[in-house]
Amino acid sequence: MLRLDKRPQPSKRWNWATPFLAVLLTMIAGGFLFMALGKDPFIAIKLIFWDPLFNPQVADYSRPQLLVKAGPLILIAVGLSVGFRAGIWNIGAEGQYIIGALCGAAVALAFWPAEGWYIFPLMVLAGAFGGWAWAMIPAILKTRFNTNEILVSLLLVYVAEKILAAMSVGLMRNPDGAGFPGSRNIAQYPAAANNELIADTGMHWGVVAAFIAVIFTYIMLHRHILGFQVQLAGQAPRAAKFAGVAPARLVVLCLGFSGAMAGLAGMFEVSGPARLVSIDFNAYYGFTAIIVAFLGRLHPVGIALAGLLMALTYIGGELAQFTLGLPSAAIQVFQGMLLFFLLAVDVLSNYRIRLKTHEAA
């Protein structure tokens, strides 16, 4: 039998190694999954992780997509990671993302067809505000009524999805759209469009925002008292109380920050890659970002790398869908397995594994 001995402190070495180990294990398990689906596992893995970057036939298209997909994932995940560190679980980023997108789009559609430099910045503010406000619902319910923020933030995702559906067939529907659901094309409205900043790189304002968020969060966590409080609240809640950390303030700050980041991501997406408000413009980035946050070990730089890797699985998954006929759900399973393996191998950084020898007794 094996025995677990708790380490006095998590192993630094394993802390670095476990994400790589988890990715490797996921590739192996994923290979078996693809084999079960009747595909050659080696071709499928190469198609997902190698071809989007290095196959000259597709790289021109897929390399820019890497930043397009990684941008929102990193932005949302960085926001979530701060709360996760403090033991505050916002799992409704998908809802905040939708509301942020709707608020941003509302500003754009209200000004249409006016021109002005101020429209896009206003949209950015509205997007962040929308996500923040939606996250304030679980935050205030938590601090005022002690209601579980996990359940409330998640249930609000379904509410947000219904609001999105109502908006895209109702208030925000394109009046010139012959009755089809969906808003005006915001990406074709110059004052509001979030287009590529440098041609053929996939770089748009959302990606810039993601990198700013990574740097900002890094500084906040490592150089600011707030970062210390966040870490303390997560690792030793009782000690945090004695150190003067106000739990309610931390809940409001963490949920608000992650909500604002998710709202921004939604706003940049709807005015750029998604182009318009439609019933299903949301691509579950809000949920995938949870995996990204854990894969990046809740560290801003780790999250940036994890976001790029996860974006790769999206793009590679699409590629495998076109060329191999791999079902799109397979890539979702693949991403889910990654989280399983991440959580499983974490035991290596927190515990020492020993062979239990049978003592004579």
């Binding site: 677990l4 708790k6 679980w89 799992i91 319910l141 005022r144 009524f145 002690n146 209601t147 579980n148 996990i150 359940l151 409330v152 998640l154 249930l155 609000l156 995702v157 379904y158 509410v159 219904k162 609001i163 559906a165 109502a166 067939v169 109702g170 949920f287 949870i290 995996i291 854990f294 079902p327 759900a329 397979a330 890539i331 979702q332 399973v333 693949f334 991403q335 889910g336 397995m337 989280l339 399983f340 959580l343 499983a344 974490d346 035991v347 927190n350 515990y351």
Partner: protein
């Protein structure tokens, strides 16, 4: 709008059917939480049960074999959660989420080609004289057998938790795992068994949805019912019979909401469809605030990891 389509008897009868999947998932999760474990993967286990039960029933032509397969599927998925949280000491919140994310993808993969397929019909139970009682007959005694199975499970769980030795051990483990361990109870074994029971119940709830209530397979068809079941456990303050009352209350709201949509009330359908989630949040707020909280009595070790020292 047209009120003539409102038949209180039909509404009351539909209520029990609407409540059954939530009730099944909630009673399973209730046992899991009474053992001190918070499994947030109910939604994932339900949708897995829905698809496994559906495919098994379509292949074999027998809805009850489908139900059994769904229970096995839910329990198998929950075992992943059990291994992660109990043996590998992984965070329960994150592991539960992982279960839901994985379950949603896995069910979509498994259910390919089953959209639009009609599952074998589950016959309604004919209870003879009971079914013929005016008013009460159609409301209570003309359902499919699974409705009564769910009620039986609730009563059995209540009896088991209150009056049997093993039920008390489970509660002891949930209230204080260190003390239970010191008394020589196998904390991890009890918890893993509880987790698998929860998975089987959630799987059955999902299969009830895809085989009887809807009955069809569509991707993501559980639409948050697993999360509502989690909230219901809090609403019931971890007591089985209260969970049943809560589920029927909730089933009533669901049915009313659907009937209002059908009757063409002048509120857009999207806003009506929000109401179950909003009401769940409202109930959570009421239950967790102020005076109500004192009577809540959540299990003492709920969500805390257990690692035997030495």
């Amino acid at each position: 709008m047209d009120f003539s389509s409102f038949n209180p008897m039909v509404l009351a009868a539909a209520l029990m059917v609407a409540a059954t999947p939530i009730l099944l998932a909630a009673i399973g999760e209730l046992v899991v939480e009474r053992s001190g474990v918070l499994n947030l993967g109910v939604e994932g286990m339900m949708i897995t049960g829905a698809v496994v039960g559906f495919t098994a029933a379509v292949t074999t032509g027998n809805p009850y074999l489908g139900m059994l397969a769904a229970m096995a599927g839910g329990a198998a998925l929950s075992l992943i959660f059990g291994v992660l949280t109990q043996l590998l000491k992984a965070n329960q919140v994150a592991s539960g989420l992982a279960l839901t994310l994985f379950g949603l993808g896995f069910s979509a993969l498994l259910g390919q080609g089953y959209a639009g397929v009609v599952p074998p019909r589950t016959a309604k139970l004919d209870l003879g004289l009971l079914s013929d009682i005016p008013v009460l007959g159609p409301i209570l005694f003309r359902h499919d057998p699974m409705v009564y199975v769910s009620v039986a499970i609730v009563v059995a769980v209540w009896f088991w938790l209150t009056y049997t030795r093993s039920g008390r051990i489970l509660r002891a483990v949930g209230e204080n795992h260190d003390a239970a361990h010191a008394l020589g109870y196998r904390v991890l074994r009890v918890r893993i068994l509880a987790i698998m029971f929860g998975g089987a119940c959630a799987g059955m709830g999902g299969a009830y949805l895809s085989l009887i209530r809807v009955p069809q397979w569509t991707e993501g068809m559980t639409a948050g019912i697993g999360w509502i079941a989690l909230a219901l456990v809090v609403f019931a303050s971890w007591r089985p019979v209260r969970a049943m009352l809560g589920a029927y209350l909730f089933g009533g709201i669901l049915v009313l909401q659907l009937n209002l949509q059908a009757a063409g009330i002048r509120i857009p359908a999207e806003y009506l469809a929000m109401s179950p989630y909003l009401i769940t949040i409202l109930v959570l707020v009421i239950m967790s605030s102020g005076r109500a909280r004192k009577s809540l009595a959540a299990p003492g070790s709920l969500g805390k990891p257990f690692h035997a020292a030495g």
